[in-house]
Amino acid sequence: MSEFLRSYQTVIWFGVVAVLLASLLLGLASLVRPVKPNREKQLAYESGVDPVGDGWVQSQIRYYVFALLFVIFDVEAVFIFPWATQLERYAGFGLVEMGIFVFVLLLGLVYAWRKGVLRWI
């Protein structure tokens, strides 16, 4: 197996160990902890008052536009990384190219800003 795949295999082992460690500790806890459930304990905690209605309430998500912007900028970062590693080779040409790219993105951010999207409604 190549070194590359080996690395990913190690990552999988790390994930497995994390789950195992958590399960081991939880299993240990289940041997020593008391189990005495009753209705009062299993109510949702709302500062001592009996909960009103369902826990899954509708609330206004004010920042869904932020989430869309996040996707745009995150994809941009994916494009910038490979360029960053090869900048030495591209020199001036790569610099101008990326200057245009970043400028367009900044323009997008400024547009969103001017449209009032970044304001807390």
Binding site: E3, F4, S7, Y8, Q9, T10, V11, W13, F14, G15, V17, A18, V19, A22, S23, L25, L26, A29, V32, R33, P34, V35, K41, Q42, L43, A44, Y45, E46, S47, P51, D54, G55, W56, V57, S59, I61, Y63, F66, F70, F73, D74, A77, I80, F81, A84, T85, L87, E88, A91, G92, G94, L95, M98, V102, L105, L106, L109, W113, L118, W120
Partner: protein
């Protein structure tokens, strides 16, 4: 480890050693940070002694705490989505373990040596958002839901400055591999003088500050702790958790603080290395084997300094309001980090 690796260990033995090392690298910083900073430093900053009973100066308090949490009843709300409610803390803890896999501790003391290590670290660090979001949703509690939503909004907002701040380092080093970044810093020179190498904190000061602010927000530490704001949301997405599952969120939070400090140390402070000119090394291959022993100690020292700063800020500042927090990320940090990228690129090409 290098001495061991030199005799061609079988793969399964290497894996066991790596996994053990990784577990230590997650739990040791978490324990140290909690005891030194959260118990002791916080107490002294608030003019009290902190834990003093368990062992000398309360040194065994952590073991007492774990023993206490083990005995707590595992409560869950009746209406909760039980399966998801139960796996959420495990997801958070797993994200920390995946993150530590990429940190280099010495010339041969690494867990994985990805070509795109920086990329991997940034990708995996956002897995914990999933854990927090599903914890908030599955609890079927209004506080938890609000906390989870706030956490999601905050974490994606501060993910971007973090990613963009790291690009400056990648431009300077010309590589995304952690080992090559560390070597580039220690073998570097400042205007022909190589006495201290070229740690990127000097040239990437802006990037470093943005990175540390973003780390503070990713960890939901105090100036950015709107998701768990005790005074209004009880404990945010952790409200319904009790017993050992709560402790796992807690361990995850502080272990991630340690791992992020390690990553910041590798990216900006020169990582495991000491300036190569001191011993006449010039590249990775000429580094002596004893660096595999000294390297982890250097990394641990740098980790303590950086997480000390994180905790110091945490104990000192009041929290941001939610809208200020979003405004700060989008209107200050992101434009500044984009300009930082361009400035770094121009200087790199010019020199």
């Amino acid at each position: 480890m290098s001495v061991l690796l030199a005799v061609d260990m079988p793969y399964w033995l290497q894996t066991i050693l790596r996994v053990l090392g990784g577990t230590v690298a997650v739990l040791l910083p978490a324990g140290t940070i909690v005891y030194v900073f959260l118990f002791k430093m916080m107490s002294f900053m608030q003019s009290r002694l902190g834990p003093m009973e368990a062992g000398p100066y309360g040194a065994f308090q952590l073991f007492a705490e774990v023993g206490k949490w083990l005995q707590k009843e595992d409560l869950y709300p009746d209406r909760a989505d039980k399966f998801i409610f139960k796996i959420a803390p495990i997801v958070v803890l797993t994200s920390t373990f995946l993150l530590v896999a990429v940190v280099p501790f010495g010339p041969d003391a690494w867990f994985t040596n990805f070509e795109a290590g920086v990329f991997y670290a940034l990708a995996v660090s956002s897995v914990s958002v999933l854990g927090i979001l599903i914890a908030g949703w599955a609890s079927a509690n209004k506080y938890s839901l609000l906390g989870g939503l706030r956490a999601a909004g905050q974490l994606i907002a501060y993910e971007l400055p973090m990613v963009l701040a790291v690009i400056g380092v990648v431009i300077q080093a010309g590589s995304m591999n952690f080992q090559e970044i560390v070597v580039a810093q220690n073998a570097g020179e400042i205007f022909g003088w190589n006495g201290i190498g070229n740690p990127y904190i000097l040239t990437q000061m802006v990037g470093f500050i943005i990175f540390m602010i973003a780390v503070q927000a990713e960890l939901t530490q105090t100036p950015f702790d709107m998701p768990i704001a005790e005074s209004e949301l009880v404990s945010g997405y952790m409200t319904e958790y009790s017993g050992f599952r709560f402790l796992m969120f807690f361990i995850g939070e502080f272990a991630t603080a340690g791992v992020f400090s390690l990553i910041a140390a590798a990216l900006f402070l020169g990582g495991w290395g000491i300036p190569f000119a001191w011993f006449g090394w010039d590249s990775m291959d000429s580094v002596d084997n004893w660096m595999n022993i000294v390297g982890p100690l250097i990394m641990f020292t740098k980790m303590m300094v950086l997480s000390g700063i994180i905790m110091w800020v945490r104990f000192s500042y009041p929290r941001f309001r939610e809208d200020q927090l979003q405004k700060f990320a989008w209107k200050v940090l992101i434009p500044v980090s984009l300009l930082n990228i361009m400035a770094t690129a121009i200087l790199k090409v010019a020199f």
